[in-house]
């Protein structure tokens, strides 16, 4: 792309006699510090939402006086990853260490050649063994390169409104509700029971349920040779049918996750259950507010076994001028000790094996929900099975195809029409 482009640009520059102007302006920019002469090395790191790294980065600079770190934080994941790919395409502008969210990892893996193999440039004692198997598998290419060091994971538990459960005559203590959350069938059956006696919906959004079910499947939208199998994989359609049927019976509140109305739903009790990765506890606390303390509860059960939603990796793009130093920083940040500290800050659950049994983690309690959150999510993390293979565009299919289609069902589109839209949209992305 660049050569073609350069030629055309040169041509047009000649035509418009613009050479002088551009050259004059071009000198005003300078690419920042590079300390090849023993001066301090400046590393940049890009993250989104909350990684809880502020104090850790300070600490790292204290430990390594020759390193200076600049931290670029973005609010929401969507725009962050869009910019990440734009800069990958531009060939410059990316940070030395970039965070990548699980949902966007498949697109990164498809462009693995633009990232360093961390097994090669990283500290030799850091191997894939540091992380839960499924976590490091996700970031390993078919030819065995490790593209990202795992940071956190989002093991799924179930959150639910005690008061709404009681009012609808369902059990409401964390042990008592477990049978309801045994399988997806029992979950939807309980939903029918619930909505018959309550004004609230059973869950927040079709997409939230479908995504959780989808991630439990052995094969997802793509097979391991990157062929789109959305039409032939009967499991996907089966999940689709179950979810859309449930929303047809009125179980869904039809709210878009992270929208204003969804936020308000936690407070007003618009829905009774929520698929709950560890980081969701913070969201609920924030949105439901102190006046609802004691109403939301969490239990260590999840329909269909375990599941994972979210969690990130740190990678070093080949654009980086200091790949070794960047990999060293990423390795340090993703060491169990550091990730446990980050967990204390933000509730991001560590993905490292050693962290799962660390007493600091297991003892961690959550006042708002009144549980030992650390222990609960460690249990849930152990239930997560193999990582499902994600093909290129997987994340975008979920975000821009299945989720909007499921929302359209909530808004009145027939499930059959919406499914046709899904097949169509997925084919376009996989093209």
């Amino acid at each position: 792309m660049r050569q073609l482009f350069r030629r055309a640009l040169a041509l047009s520059a000649a035509v418009t006699l613009s050479g002088g102007v551009l050259a004059a302006c071009g000198s005003s920019d300078d690419t920042g510090g590079n300390g090849s002469d023993g001066g301090p090395i400046e590393l940049t790191i890009g993250t989104f939402t909350e990684f809880g790294y502020e104090d850790l980065l300070e600490e790292y600079q204290r430990l390594n006086p020759n390193i200076k770190i600049k931290h670029n934080k973005t609010g929401q994941g969507g725009p962050y990853h869009q910019q990440l790919f734009t800069k990958l395409g531009a060939g410059s502008g990316l940070e030395d260490v970039v965070a990548i969210e699980e949902g966007h990892l498949s697109d990164v893996m498809a462009k693995a050649s633009l990232f360093n193999n961390l097994l090669e440039i990283g500290p030799k004692d850091v191997t894939a063994d540091r992380w839960l198997d499924w976590k490091s598998q996700q970031a390993t290419t078919k030819d065995g390169k490790l593209i990202g060091y795992g940071t956190d994971i989002g093991p799924l538990a179930m959150c639910y409104r005690k008061d709404l459960f009681e009012a609808a005559g369902l059990p409401s203590d964390p042990e008592g509700v477990k049978p309801l959350f045994e399988t997806w069938d029992s979950y939807f059956a309980a939903g029918d029971q619930f909505i018959a006696k309550s004004d609230a919906a059973w869950y927040d959004a079709n997409a939230q349920i479908f995504n959780a079910m989808h991630n439990q499947l052995p094969v997802g939208f793509f097979d391991t040779s990157d062929q789109l199998v959305i039409e032939t994989n009967a499991d996907i359609k089966a999940n689709w049918d179950k979810v859309t049927a449930a929303s047809g019976r009125g179980q869904s509140a039809g709210l878009v996750a992270f929208s204003n109305e969804w936020n308000s739903g936690f407070k007003s009790g618009a829905f009774a259950t929520k698929t709950c990765p560890s980081w969701m506890l913070g969201v609920i606390k924030n949105q439901a507010g102190p006046e609802n303390k004691g109403k939301w509860a969490v239990t260590d059960a999840f329909p269909g076994g375990g599941g994972n939603w979210g969690g990130s990796f740190l990678a070093v793009p080949t654009q980086s001028k200091h790949p070794q130093e960047a990999a060293k920083l990423a390795a340090w940040l993703t060491a169990p000790e550091q990730q446990i500290k980050a967990f204390g800050k933000t509730g991001n659950f560590p993905s490292q094996k050693a962290a799962q049994t660390a007493p600091e983690l297991l003892e961690k309690t959550d006042d708002y929900f009144g549980v030992k959150a650390g222990e609960l999510f460690a249990k849930q993390a152990a239930k997560v099975g193999q990582a499902q293979y994600k093909g290129p565009g997987d994340g975008r299919i979920q975000e821009n195809v299945t989720s909007p289609a499921l929302q359209s069902v909530e808004q009145g589109t027939s499930p059959a029409d919406a499914w046709a839209q899904v097949v169509d949209g997925a084919t376009k992305i996989a093209k």
Binding site: G75, Q76, G93, F258, N260, G289
Partner: protein
């Protein structure tokens, strides 16, 4: 690059050339009760969203879920505003927007006035053709060229830098057109002739004769350009980064933050609106006059 938010003010019709100089002359009848009533309703509708954003910004976002929202502001505005500064680099974005809009305004006014002078008062080969070209480009949606423009910016290594939003907006067709139309009428040939006789160079003639005469038009073009640039969104969204935003980008980031708290977001929009609102109240008379003059020029 012209922006969607901008609309030219000049009218390409000769019919209305003879301009109405005395602004407050009205050809309509007496203003009665209904006239005031309807105007008042319209103005109330215009003001309401501004008021509402301040209302939410001065309370907490729980008011959004209340069935009957309160009508008076609460006392949380400064808390919310402080949180805006914690959440996004708001000062930086204000500074960036000032730099960008300021530079773009300066160059647009300068280049447009120069070109307008040349088109209106100087004779040179190809003048008519070139001016026709300027008129034709008024209709060209240059915004649609963002993809190659983006490639160009990344080729120069400008992505994320302010010059990436400044350079494409250095001068606009509407600016040149507008200044030309004004200069035609505002600068008499006799004055130019006199300056030339005195031995003034072209640039000095421009500076001493043309510029003073077209100052009102240049001032209006300046305000118009400033506002358009201040509000530009698509191109900065494409080419700038979250850590070096303009005000509009900072607002968008606030809205797509991790936890969306609308009293926080609307405190941000209030903060971003206040400076423009102050400018507007101070210069409202001139802006109105500029728009109305623009409408009958050309």
């Amino acid at each position: 690059m012209t922006m969607t938010g901008s609309r030219p003010t000049a009218l390409p019709t000769k019919a209305l050339r003879r301009s109405a100089r005395n602004e407050n002359r009205s050809s309509g009848g007496r203003a009665g009760f209904w006239t005031y009533g309807m105007l008042l309703a319209f103005v109330a509708g215009s003001v309401f969203p501004f008021y509402w954003q301040f209302l939410v910004a001065s309370r907490d976002s729980s008011m959004l879920t209340d069935k009957i929202p309160p009508l008076l502001p609460g006392g949380n505005f400064f808390d919310n505003a402080a949180r805006v500064f914690d959440s996004v680099p708001f000062w930086k974005s204000l500074g960036n927007s000032l730099i960008v809009a300021g530079t773009v305004t300066f160059t647009t006014v300068l280049f447009s006035t120069l070109a307008g002078f040349a088109f209106a008062k100087l004779r040179f080969r190809g003048r008519n053709g070139l001016f026709l070209f300027v008129v034709a480009t008024l209709a060209v949606p240059t915004q649609l060229g963002i993809i190659p423009l983006y490639m160009a910016m990344s080729e120069f290594g400008w992505t994320g830098e302010l010059q990436a939003v400044i350079v494409p907006n250095l001068v606009t067709a509407i600016g040149v057109f507008w200044m030309r139309q004004y200069t035609v009428e505002a600068v008499p040939y006799e004055l130019i002739e006199a300056a030339r006789v005195d031995g003034c160079s072209m640039l000095r003639t421009f500076w001493h004769v043309c510029l003073p005469a077209v100052r009102p038009a240049a001032a209006f073009l300046g305000m118009f350009t400033f506002m358009t640039s201040w509000n530009d969104f698509l191109w900065p969204l494409v080419v700038l980064n979250a850590d070096n935003p303009t005000v509009q980008l900072a607002l968008e980031r606030l809205q797509s933050g991790y936890y969306i708290d609308y009293s926080l977001v609307l405190a941000g929009t209030t903060l971003a609106t206040v400076p423009v609102l102050i400018v507007f109240v101070l210069l409202g008379r001139q802006i109105v006059a500029g728009i109305m003059q623009g409408a009958v020029k050309g």
